[in-house]
Amino acid sequence: MIEIKNVSKKYDDVNALSGVTIEVPEGQVFGLVGTNGAGKSTLLRSICGVCRPDEGEILVDGEPVYENPSAKQKIFFISDDQYYYPGSNAEEMERFYRTMYPDTFSSDRFHDLMKSLSLDPKRRIQTFSKGMKKQLAIMLGIASGCKYILCDETFDGLDPVVRQAVKRLFIHDMEEFGITPVIASHNLRELEDICEYVGLLHKGGVILSKDLEDMKLGIYKVQVVFRDSTSLETVRNNLKVISEEHRGSLVTLTIRGGRTEVETVITSQVPVFYEVLPLTLEEIFISETEVLGYDFTGITK
């Protein structure tokens, strides 16, 4: 398990992370989502020991990670701009990471994966497309045999077929070897397919961090047509309404709470029509950040 305890990090005068506390459970895909500049990359770079937090601590299986090869041996970091030595080919990078992870790196696995993705290990990486470079980074990460694979915007640039293949690979390795991918991305639909656990970052702080299913169970979108306006007022007073949208008599409400609780209050008002829908991760994200003032709906006014 990765424990991030009250971690803060500043770049000059800018707070990149501010008192972040999250636990990344083992054997699950952890999605890290957040607004632009929320600190996702900084958090990942701190988890793998690239950055040293100004405050707080990060423990990997109970060990502090910064300057600790024993803890870092369990982590492979795939940055959004993975570095490859100039003029090198995939085999040379494989040799580099084999040196760095001598106890866990599997060359056979690497070559098998390269073959299955039809990547030529002898071709110069600088001739690779952006997506191919990302694929290579993922192959190296998986072949490294590390328990935790940190992916910073890794799925961006992958074509849909490869994206699915990578997802399958992660799930396979998670089931077989108990790896824990930590994926930071803006593409919430992608994450929704694969993540079980999600952390939401905004302005360097954590909005929420919980199981995706729990998250979805705690927030609902309700489309309803009331008979009169007092019903809506009653709903507002009895439930945690995060947002509401009116289209004629149809009201769309985003409500925090259990499904039963929401349905009880709505039905008590005897609406003309109502439907309770689960929210997508993207809708949850937008709702949660809107509450915190991250709202650009006025941009067109």
Partner: protein, 695 residues
């Protein structure tokens, strides 16, 4: 959550299951952690900077053997001798020339370039964010990373160097081994190695430090120059300011080694050359305690640079990559010092361009302008942003104020340097050196002495070469006091300006000579420069350059035997008889060569006459006479046991060398008039009717 495609549903072969099982075992149950070995990290690092090794190898392996073959073949073809003793000496000479003259110098140059490339190139990941992320994310401690990169860089220089030298020694052994030169060659190699090593290590550690505090290559180079030169440049700036703005400033020239130890780029290269070239000639350099202390300090600075670089590297933030320079305090010091230096150096330039009138205002203005400019430029370099020019306006103003204060110290003598005179009772010893205005009168310039048992051979006066009192004459305290008094008189006259009248009374005749402020110019007969040094009983030595407003005092000083001997060793006969003496006419033609017997008689006469004239007239003996013809005296200058070179000194004969002139006329049968080919009238010069064929 379930796998989109469970592996169990796939048709898999037994081999694939085995492979997967192996992978599983490898991934989940590492039987025993082997860790990352230092050697494997070194090999990996080396793989990614092969080009540096290849470059070092090509340069060293080609250059060393190539130069060796070239030098040895040149020497072999120059001499055709059969005398075994001469052959051995020539072989040794070849080896000496090879190592000292060529390889030593080349290896220093290679060491500087190599250290710069492997130092900054080795730590290039510090200048690239994604590479820094990769390097810092792998499970290797930063200290170990530093050691790997550092050691590899060192070996990249050392291994090709050693191989190159081994080939060089093999070539030397093959060509000259039969003459028994190998012990000498090996000793020379050790010297070359020691020189190159100290140069490499100093520059390498400096380059590594510069890389550790920088986020780009350009910043590294700027920081390297600042760290490597600033101390020496600052010291030189203060000396130049004192020389330009203080009337009386003077101090004996310092060896670059003594002032450059704080500046690794200066000291490493200088010591490298000195060690490679002269380490065995300990009498020249390494018997001086200050030189040895400076060498120790140079090595200490080199080690400190490495330690600081290491500390910065292991604690450096990864986000420093691609930024300008790290460290708020260091950046401030860099801007502060260099902006002031720029301002002060430009002030010096302005003073020299404008001259002595009205320079104060412009110096102050220009200093402020250039301090601001340099401060802003450094800010831009450090932050990689043109908008940063005025980011620290408070610091900028502070730099200008401090620069102006320093300038004012020199402009207005705020520390009372010029007017301060050492109290008489605090003088332990005193020395003077006169301004060498008269050197062209046949003077040898000092610094020579005769070589014992080798007539006609001279060498450098090594005692004086390393002496604190180079070229100085010890003077009695009474004379020192008079010099200080004369300085006071000069100061009064200088302040009074051209309206001042000054009388000097002849003690014998009682006649008074009148001088005015208009005589306050060197060469007017009134003023002579003198470099004055007093070793104080308490406190540091006192050095000043004074203008003596007292011709009698100047004459008295010049009549001191020690002054005469040091400044005119040739004319006094202290260099012994020359190997040959020839007579030269106005055209510069050598018209007569004296026989050994004639030479001896002639030189005895001249030495005797010079000393007598000098005893009577002091340096006035050299003043005001126009030479009619000259004698060329040939000596052999000895550099070391093997090498000498021919030196010609000129004795210009004057009207008062009457006995010498008469003797020349008698020995050669040539009159003075016959030697003077040029004469002057109102229309210019015309050629005389006399013409003597060169012999």
């Amino acid at each position: 959550m379930t796998s989109p495609e469970s592996p169990n549903n796939n048709p898999v072969t037994e081999a694939e299951i085995m492979k997967e099982d192996n992978a599983k075992t490898q991934n989940t149950e590492p039987a025993a952690k082997t860790g990352i070995s230092f050697a494997s990290l070194m090999i990996e690092d080396l793989r990614h900077r092969k080009w540096m090794l290849v470059l070092s190898g090509i340069v060293q392996l080609l250059l060393g053997p190539f130069v060796t073959v070239f030098i040895l073949s040149r020497y072999n073809s120059r001499y055709y001798v059969t005398d075994p003793e001469v052959m051995v000496r020539q072989a040794l000479d070849s080896v000496d020339t090879l190592f000292r003259g060529y390889l030593g110098g080349l290896e220093i140059v290679i060491a500087v370039c190599g250290a710069l490339i492997v130092g900054i190139g080795g730590f290039r990941h510090l200048f690239n964010k994604s590479m820094t992320d990769m390097m810092n994310s792998v499970p290797v401690k930063r200290g170990k990373q530093f050691a790997v990169i550092y050691l590899n860089g060192f070996l990249m220089w050392l291994v090709p160097f050693m191989v190159s030298v081994a080939i060089t020694l093999i070539i030397v052994a093959a060509r000259l081994g039969s003459y028994g030169v190998m012990p000498t060659a090996f000793a020379c190699f050790l010297q070359t190695f020691a020189g190159a090593l100290i140069t490499f290590m100093c520059v390498y550690n400096l380059a590594v430090l510069a890389a550790a505090i920088s986020g780009t290559v350009f910043n590294s180079l700027v920081n390297m120059l600042c760290l490597g030169l600033d101390a020496a440049i600052a010291y030189l700036c203060l000396i130049l300011m004192a020389q330009n703005f203080f009337d009386n400033f003077w101090r004996p020239s310092l060896d670059i080694l003594e002032i450059g130890w704080m500046s690794p780029l200066v000291s490493s290269v200088t010591y490298g050359f000195v060690i490679a070239d002269r380490m065995d000639r300990a009498d020249l350099y390494f018997d001086s305690p200050s030189t040895v202390i400076c060498l120790i300090l140079t090595i200490a600075v080199c080690i400190i640079n490495l330690i600081v670089a290491y500390r910065i590297y292991v604690t450096r933030k990864s986000e420093a990559a691609e930024s300008g320079t790290i460290g708020k305090v260091y950046k401030f010091v860099l801007r502060f010092v260099n902006s002031m230096l720029a301002g002060l150096y430009v002030a010096l330039l302005v003073k020299n361009v404008i001259g002595d009138e009205g320079y104060v205002f412009w110096c102050m203005v220009i200093t402020a302008v250039f301090t601001v400019l340099m401060f802003g430029i450094l800010e831009i370099i450090q932050k990689k942003s043109f908008r940063s020019f005025f980011d620290h306006i408070g610091q900028m103003i502070g730099s200008v104020i401090v620069a102006e204060i320093i300038l004012s110290v020199f402009l207005f003598d705020l520390i009372n340097f010029d007017n301060h005179i050492v109290p008489e009772d605090n003088i332990a010893e005193a020395y003077i050196r006169m301004n060498p205005d008269y050197y062209y009168w046949g003077d040898t310039g000092g610094g020579y002495r005769a070589v014992e048992d080798r007539p006609g051979y001279i060498c450098w006066t090594e005692d004086r070469f390393i002496s604190d009192h180079y070229g100085d004459v010890a003077i009695p305290k009474e004379l020192a006091v008079r010099i200080l008094s004369a300085e006071k008189v000069y100061s009064e006259m200088y302040i009074a300006g051209s309206g001042y009248t000054y009388y000097i009374e002849d003690p014998v005749t009682g006649l008074k000579t009148t001088y005015t402020g208009n005589d306050l110019y060197p060469g007017s007969g009134m003023i002579s420069y003198v470099y004055f040094e007093a070793d104080r009983k308490t406190g540091p030595d006192f050095y000043r350059s004074y203008r003596l407003a007292d011709p009698d005092l100047v004459l008295e000083i010049s009549k001191l035997d020690e002054y005469r001997d040091i400044n005119y060793p040739l004319n006094c006969g202290l260099l012994g008889y020359p190997l040959s003496v020839e007579l030269v006419d106005d055209y510069g033609n050598r018209v007569y060569s004296f026989t050994d017997e004639e030479k001896q008689q002639l030189m005895d006469t001249y030495f005797d006459e010079f000393r007598k004239n000098y005893d009577e007239e002091g340096i006035n003996v050299l003043d005001g006479n126009i030479y009619k013809y000259q004698l060329i005296c040939r000596y052999e200058m000895v550099y070391n046991e093997e090498s000498t070179s021919t030196h010609f000194f000129y004795i210009y004969l004057k009207d008062n060398d009457r006995r010498t002139v008469e003797l020349i006329e008698r020995l050669t049968g040539i009159t003075i008039d016959e030697l003077v080919n040029y004469n002057y009238d109102d229309y210019g010069y015309y050629e005389d009717e006399y013409y003597i064929e060169p012999y």
